[in-house]
Structure formats: C-alpha cells, structure tokens
C-alpha cells in the first residue's frame, strides 16, 4: 500500500494538518445538524481526506465499506432517452460521483440521478440519521445549466440528503450554490506542516531522517502534501539509509519541460519550433494536462528571463491559456505561446545586442 493511502487519517481526531477545521466539522456533526458543505482548495491539500473522515464520523466504520459500481442510467430527456454511464462509489450511507464525467449531459445527471439517489432513503429503525450523504466531485467543472439545476435540488431534498461538494476553485461555482452551502476553505499545507507529517511517517516506518531532508522534500513539493509523501516514498525506495545529500528526484515531465524551456531560449527559429512540437506532443500523449504544461513552461521561462520581459511573457501565457479553454486542440495554443515567446525573445535579443 502506498504511504499516501496508508497514512491517510481515518478520523477527524487524527487529522494532522487542518486540525481547527476538523474540530469545527466534528462539532457540526455531533450537533446532528449538518448543512450542505462546499470544500474548496488547491489539489493535495486534503479535501478528500477531510470528507472521508467526516463521513466516517457521521456513520461510523460502516462508511468505509465502499463498492465501486459502473451504472448506466436511462434518462428521459423530453423527445429522446439518453444513456448515461457513470462510475459511482457507494456505501450504505453515502454515494460519491463526479457528475462532470457525463460531459455536456451533466445537467441530466444533476436533475435525474441525484433525485433518484436522494429518494432512496436509508431505513433506520431508530429514526436516527435518516439521511444520505452525496459527495459530488469537481463541481467547478459542471456546466452552468447543471449548477442551476443543482440549486433547487439541494433545497428540495435537504431533508433526506446532504450534499458535500468538492472543487478546486470556488470562482467557478455559481453564487447561488455557494450561498446555499457552508463554505469550507482548505488551504494548502505550509512547508512546516508538511515537514511535520513527513517526520511522523518516517517515525512510524522506523526510518532515520537526516536533518533537513524533510524540509528539502517539502520545498520541492509545491505545498502539495500528496506529492511530498509520494516523493518521500520514492526516495526511500531509491536508496536507504537516506543521506542528507540524496537528490530528490524531480518528476520526469517537469525535467522534460525544463529541457523544452532551455531549447527555446537557445535558438528561435521555425526549425526549433518544429522540434519543440514533437516534445510537446510527447507530453500530451503521456496525459499531462495542457494547462499544467503551459504553467510549468512559464515557470521555467520566468526563472531565466530578464525582469522587463517577464510581464510580457506572463501576459501571453495567460492569453493563450484562456484561448486554450475556449478552443478544442490544446497543442495549437501551446505552440502559439512558444512561437510568440520566440518572436518576443528574438526581438529582445536584437534590441539589446544588435
């Protein structure tokens, strides 16, 4: 089992990073009065961990017995019937799904499927806990219509069904939904917190941590706890005992992008652009999301550039990233950014060195 899963806190009491939030959540649950919740925060900050711990707190250990189902739903959409396939993760008391997987049909998922799930209430003889929890992932990727549909559904079934929404950026969730939920902001853990967790894991595994090693991993992790733990484990597998000088292996795709960046800096010509295209395709084929490629490329370029160029380059990065979300083919826009950068850099070089 990976350490990320092995050391995922199971209960709200064991949470190490967001203790204050965990205590507040616990208070909410013990008062039996749980509103709809909206968790938002950057990836790797612990949203999912908190949600799972919260559900366990509500329903006890039975919430951990989950089964994965791949269901096909028949939805009547006026003139025709649609088949929508969705993967759900469910236990007796909760159901988890990512409605945005249904693409442009997400509206029907929200309107029909949630209603259906909400109607099947768990039976409890004690008349206690008469509600189900529905966890919706990636609500920020839902279409406008789906979000509009969600708001009434939330109110209508609030007696039998609590929604827990989870997303990266709450800007993309409409005000109507935000105002109906208790918003919980999960910030990314600070470097010190990551160090604390790494030391805790090292302790449990019986490892000798050289001083400053954990801090170096935390520094490289971009404030993502998941990534820190993964690279910690990689280091452990690579070489043990750990030494203080050991290199923390960077992600291979990041190295690759750094390579592209230095390629672009060295020569600005159509030929070089053609070579870079091949490398960009390589990255895309390996399922690195295009916006991450662009962001990382910008990061690498900014490290090397003069201050006066930085403004210009970051403007064009933002410009082409926006174009990318509107367009279809990501490669065009990344390549356009690279070409734009080349032209800017070339004229900068000419202006400076003649």
């Amino acid at each position: 089992m990976l350490w990320v899963d092995k050391y995922r806190p199971k209960t709200l009491d064991h949470v190490m990073v967001h203790q204050d939030i965990a205590q507040n959540l616990k208070k909410l649950v013990t008062e039996q009065d749980c509103p709809h919740l909206l968790f938002y925060g950057p990836p790797g900050s612990g949203k999912k961990t908190l949600i799972m711990a919260l559900i366990r707190q509500m329903f006890g250990p039975s919430a951990e017995k989950v089964k994965v189902e791949n269901k096909t739903w028949k939805v009547d959409a006026g003139s025709r019937t649609l088949d929508i396939e969705l993967t759900t993760l469910s236990s007796t008391n909760h159901v988890e799904l990512s409605p945005s997987d249904a693409g442009f049909q997400d509206r029907y998922v929200v309107q029909e499927i949630i209603k259906e799930i909400a109607k099947n209430r768990p039976i409890d003889t004690k008349g206690k806990r008469g509600f189900k929890v529905l966890v919706l992932n990636e609500v920020d990727k839902l279409s406008r219509e789906a979000q509009h549909s969600l708001r009434r559904t939330m109110e209508k079934y609030s007696a039998y069904c609590r929604l827990i929404l989870c997303c990266n950026s709450s800007s993309k969730v409409t005000e109507a939904i935000r105002s109906r939920c208790l918003n919980v902001r999960i910030n990314a853990p600070t470097d010190e917190e990551i160090v604390k967790v790494l030391e805790f894991i090292g302790n449990k595994e019986g490892l000798q941590l050289p001083s400053g090693f954990a801090a170096r991993i935390a520094d490289k992790s971009n404030r993502s706890l998941r990534r820190a733990i993964l690279s910690f484990e990689t280091c452990r597998v690579q070489q043990y005992p750990l030494t203080s000088k050991q290199v923390i292996p960077p992600m291979d795709w990041e190295e690759y992008i750094a390579e592209i960046a230095s390629d672009v800096m060295k020569e600005q010509s159509p030929k070089r652009l053609f070579q870079v295209r091949g490398k960009l395709y390589e990255l895309l084929i390996n399922c690195i999301p295009p916006e991450i490629i662009l962001k990382r490329l910008l990061y690498e370029l900014l490290k090397k550039l003069d201050a006066e160029l930085k403004h210009e380059v970051c403007h064009w990065a933002a410009y082409y990233e926006h174009r990318m979300c509107l367009g279809q083919k990501a490669i065009f826009h990344i390549e356009a950014f690279v070409a734009k950068f080349m032209s800017i850099y070339k004229s900068f070089l000419i202006a400076t060195f003649g």
Binding site: G130, H148, R152, S169, S179, N183, E308, E321, S343
Partner: protein, 344 residues
C-alpha cells in the same frame, strides 16, 4: 419519514415573511399587492432585482394570501430552473395547467381568503429560460389571460424578451438598505439567542451587500460553527471574503515593481485557496477608492480586471490570470509603458 429536525431548517426559510406587508423595503410592490388583495384584481407581473431582495418571497406570499392553504395546490404552479423548462414544458405542462378552467362558483371567498377566479403560474429564475421557451409563452399568456396570471421572477430583466416584458407590470426590487438589514438580522439573532456585537453587525451588512439571504446564511453558518457569540472575524471566515491584509500585501508587492515578489504573492494566494474572482473584486474595491493612484492608472488596472474576470468565467486558469492582473497592475502603478516593447 422521520420528522425533520427543526434546527436543520435553513433560517432563510424559517424567517421568510408569510405576508406581503411584512416584506421589507419594497414599498411600491407592497402597495400594489395590498391593493390586489382587496380588489382581487391583478395583472401579469414581472419582478426583477438583485438576489436576496424578496422577489420569491413576495410572489409566494401573495399566492398564499390569495388562495389559502387549501386551494393553493390546485391554483398555483411553481416552476424554477431546476425543473426542466425547455420549450416542451411550456407547450405541455404550462398550457395544460392554464387550460383547465376554474370551477364556476368558486369565486366566493373561502375561509377568509379572497380566492379570485384565476390561477397563478410562478416562473422563478425566468432569466435562465431559453429564448424559444419564452417565445412560446407569448401567445399562451394572452390566450389564457382570463384564467391565469403569470408571475415572472428574474435577476436580469435584459434576459427577458421584450414581448414578454411588455405584457407585464414590472417591479424593480431594490437592494436593502443597511438599517433595514440590521434590524432584520437583529430580530433573527434575538429569536435564535445569538450574541452579535455592533462591529459584527456592520461587517455582516457590508459583506452581504444588500442581499438579505446571503446575510442570513452567513449568520447561520457562523452560528453553527462558532456557537452563539459571533465576532466580526468569524463572519469573514465563513463568508469566504479575503482578509484585507492579503489584498494589501499583493498591492504592496505590485507597487514595489519587483516581478518575482508579486509572483510569490500570487502563488501564495492560490495555495491558500482564496477564490480568485473574489480577489479581483476586492482589488477593484481598493483600487477605486485609493487616493494616491491617478485616474489613468486606475483605468488601466480596471480594464485588465474586467478582462481577467471574463477569462475566469470562461474557465481559464486562476493562477495565470491573477499573475497577469498583478503584472499589469505593477506596470500601471510603476508607470511602465502600456504597450509591450518587443511584440513583433
């Protein structure tokens, strides 16, 4: 069905005014509708205005007061955005409902309610209806005007097509003033046994910007999380408003003219999980009110803010947009040229 826990009912529902005359701050509408209650005569209506000003409340209240609980079900059809409202629904559901005549002789008062001889169709959030659906309504409204009245409720009147708007009496709902908001909130906090100091009260009014529903929701969230005594800080943390220091820090970084410093701040803001759209509106607030920034600089900054906001709506990456805004703000504040020197 297990009984619904009293406490889990949202306060917004619990304290929703039941009668038209209790609706706060919307004198015109209240006057017209009180008149309606006496004469039982009413035109088609169109309520528009910002969220949380009492539009739905008013529509529901008048419907309840006209028909009373018994007839309400058969006389009122409520449709909102979560119901499918494509052109098919207009053609079938609304038409069917409108076509059924009201029973003769039922025009007498029943149980103290006026019970006028027509039905009411409430179309909530009408601005999210498609244009086709709205067009399909035009004739329906006129054909069945003897037996039905339509209440349209929307935020943006510009999204209602002109032919529909011209068939209705329009009422604009104003954002609530601070006094009225405070008095409602004080009333609720007294009922719920909350302890709210003056500072928190004014913070709540300013955060919610005239939206009473938002104010009440924040109040309830804060009460759930922090117990019965609520401070200004609790309210800010619940509402998702970004602390002023964070905004100030970014602006100071921009003023310094150091790109890397601004980049670090932006990284920090994104990692803390603050919503960038909220950040943009708060930057705007600070910039517009600042005295030490010239008008031209303000204009440059605001233009970029608007562009970035549009990009965010389109789903662009938050980090890149905020970085672009920060770099533009820096160039404006440090009087760097607006055009990029090397753009070929």
């Amino acid at each position: 069905m297990a009984p619904l826990l009293q406490s889990s009912q949202p306060w917004v529902e619990k304290y929703r005014p039941k009668q038209v005359k209790d609706v706060a701050h919307q004198d015109e509408v209240v006057r017209v509708l009180t008149n309606t209650l006496e004469t039982t005569n009413c035109p088609h209506m169109l309520f528009y205005g910002p969220p949380g000003t009492g539009k739905t409340t008013t529509a529901l209240a008048i419907a309840h007061q006209l028909f009373g609980p018994e007839l309400y079900k058969s006389r009122v059809l409520e449709l909102n955005a979560s119901d499918d409202r494509g052109i098919n629904v207009v053609r079938t559901k609304i038409k069917d409902f409108a076509a059924v005549a009201v029973a003769v002789g039922s025009s007498h008062r029943q149980g103290g309610y006026p019970c006028p001889p027509y039905k009411i169709i409430i179309l909530d959030e009408a601005d999210s209806m498609t244009e086709d659906a709205q067009n399909a309504l035009r004739r329906t409204m006129e054909t069945y005007s003897k037996v039905t009245r339509f209440f349209f409720i929307c935020n943006y009147i510009s999204r209602i097509i002109e032919p529909l708007a011209s068939r209705c009496a329009k009422f604009r709902f104003k954002p609530l003033s601070e006094d009225i908001m405070s008095s409602r909130i004080l009333h609720i906090s007294k009922e719920e046994g909350l302890n709210l100091d003056a500072e928190a009260l004014s913070a709540l009014s300013s955060i919610s910007q005239g939206d009473l529903r938002r104010a009440i929701t924040y109040l309830q969230s804060a009460a759930r999380l922090f117990g019965s005594s609520i401070s200004c800080k609790d309210l800010i943390s619940v509402s998702g408003v970004i602390p002023q220091e964070v905004v100030e820090k970014l602006l100071i970084a921009c003023k310094s003219g150091n790109f890397d410093l601004a980049n670090k701040e932006v990284n920090n803001i994104v990692a803390e999980g603050y919503p960038v759209s909220q950040m943009l509106s708060q930057i705007l607030e600070v910039i517009v009110e600042a005295d030490d920034i010239s008008d031209e600089q303000k204009a440059r900054i605001c233009k970029k803010l608007a562009e970035a906001d549009k990009c965010l709506v389109d789903g662009a990456d938050e980090y890149l947009q905020l970085l672009d805004v920060a770099s533009n703000t820096m160039r404006a504040l440090c009087n760097m040229p607006q055009e990029f020197p090397y753009e070929g």
